[in-house]
Symmetry: C2
Subunit: 318 residues, 2 copies
């Protein structure tokens, strides 16, 4: 039983070259001895670590947590493992970690709403896939947020809302820009000037969201409806409304994005644009995996859907 034989049997590449009896003996011995192939040696020799790096903007945000879960599950199904890098909104903070991983530790990268370091664009660099961050010449997976946003705006319009405020994320991001762009388009299409609508900005921590909500609700030209870049921001608005005694949805209708669990637990439950983050993460890994196989997979755009709950009704009289 040479080392070669063992390698051939355990890797499944020995079919036709190694007799069944020997193969069985090898497998039994491996089991009895508790033998496990060494990952580092295999990575060194084969040139593949069976691991992908995953750079995420904010691990603590439920949306990314679920995306992460989808990606990790898909990776495991293909025998791959996921190395996590939390960027924590720090532009470029993750770049150093990416550099460390670059050679030999992982086979490729997934960037969740984060930008890849410039060095990965160089020829010979490991492949990567962008998630919620479309860029020319880079493969990507993203959500078709436009359809959902248009549905939400149509819903508000049908209810009779003219003035639609906006709670924007201070942290940038293509998906936020897309949502905002559809809002602008909607207003223009109905003869409104987006610049005249009340718009406030917020980070994702509780204080910020509540402060932003208060700012919007106490504005002299308070709108009858508000689009929020995210369910978390929408919940801050709800909390502020509660503190100010502003009734939702009677006095202000609220729409969020993401359909997080909090959208069902909030008071009132949120009307929101639903996505499937697990599918997004899984699709991202699948794209990267195909690339690692040398294929040229097509970019993917996943659907969105409006979910109407209790936070939107027709504007009250006056």
């Amino acid at each position: 039983m040479s080392q070669t034989t063992v390698s051939l049997v355990l890797s499944g590449k020995g079919v036709g070259r190694i007799s069944d009896a020997t193969a069985e003996a090898v497998r039994r011995a491996a089991r009895d001895l508790g033998y496990r192939p060494n990952a580092a040696a295999r990575a060194l020799r084969s040139g593949s670590a069976a691991a992908v790096g995953l750079v995420v903007r904010d691990v603590t945000h439920p949306f990314f947590g679920r995306t992460l879960r989808g990606a990790q599950r898909a990776a495991r199904e293909m025998g791959h493992v996921v190395v996590l890098i939390d960027d924590n909104y720090g532009a470029g903070v993750a770049d150093g970690a990416v550099e460390i991983l670059r050679e030999g530790a992982v086979d490729g990268f997934l960037f969740f709403a984060t930008d890849p370091p410039a060095s990965l664009r160089a020829p010979g660099a490991p492949p990567y896939v962008l998630v919620e961050n479309e860029q020319s010449r880079s493969p990507f997976v993203r959500l078709d947020v436009e359809t959902g946003t248009d549905a939400a705006l149509a819903h508000l319009h049908d209810l009779g809302h003219q003035e639609i405020g906006y709670v924007r994320s201070v942290v940038g991001g293509q998906t936020f820009d897309r949502r905002h762009a559809r809002w602008e388009a909607h207003l223009r299409a109905h003869g409104q000037d987006p610049a005249r609508q009340v718009t406030v900005f917020s980070a994702f921590d509780a204080e910020s969201t509540i402060a932003a909500g208060r700012e919007l609700l106490t504005h002299p030209r308070r709108p009858t409806a508000v689009l929020c870049d995210d369910d978390v921001l929408a919940c801050g608005l709800l909390a502020a409304a509660d503190a100010l005694g502003v009734r939702v949805p009677a006095e202000v209708a609220v729409v969020g994005f993401d359909d997080l669990d909090i959208a069902r637990l909030s008071h009132p439950p949120l009307t929101t644009v639903h996505f499937d983050p697990e599918a997004l993460g899984a699709a991202a890994f699948e794209l990267l995996y195909a690339r690692l196989q040398g294929k040229r997979p097509r970019n993917r755009v996943l659907p969105s859907e409006l979910v109407v709950r209790g936070s939107t009704v027709a504007p009250g009289p006056g």
Copy 2:
């Protein structure tokens, strides 16, 4: 410029053996050529992958997300990298992944409220640290949840609450057991029978939490106060109360655990037991790191603290 020289210079172990001029030349050449040491080769030769496996019960839960962040940040500071395995409450689902990683891919493991596979107890297995899951003969880091729980119960007692219901997590966990045990002790100390108190069980998804909340609130012997194993469960209770027209805190006082962001955004803001998940994650990594150095670090217990917000007042008359 031999390969050895390069290795010595770049690893910093050449001080005193390699002249400054040569060292500088090596560094310049490395930079100009874009040379990066290969992680797999280094791991193979040195026997250390500079990576730790991290098994987490639920990546999508904000508490674990924050713990994860703390651990990942601490790891990065020591030049280590984190491999994520999401167990998703599936008992043993992660075991296979752990086996894959065992040899050569990671140097040790962190288990976040999950159980290590039995194979890791064997001699020669990589070291691990348990988080929120104390077991004899295994190093661990946990929260001193007892102090915070006692403070919460004392707070309710001071307000005049006698009947204290409980929303329990259906998913088991030591920390939940500890919370529950203090609640039982408190009731007994005041001459009550815990078995007679209204107790309901819930998973962490929105539907479950609301259903459990409804069950508790519609119970014929509805308590005047409720302890919830978690802020998420508390929010479900709030949502149920809202749907049923039960006023919080006037008719029912609510206390949660974890002090998640939603505890500030909820209506009313939650009285809850505060922890520092980032510190928990960082401490866990530090313990594991010390073990990897061959040290015998002491287990750590991190403090908890009651945060009183709007969900607790004295029971109303009748």
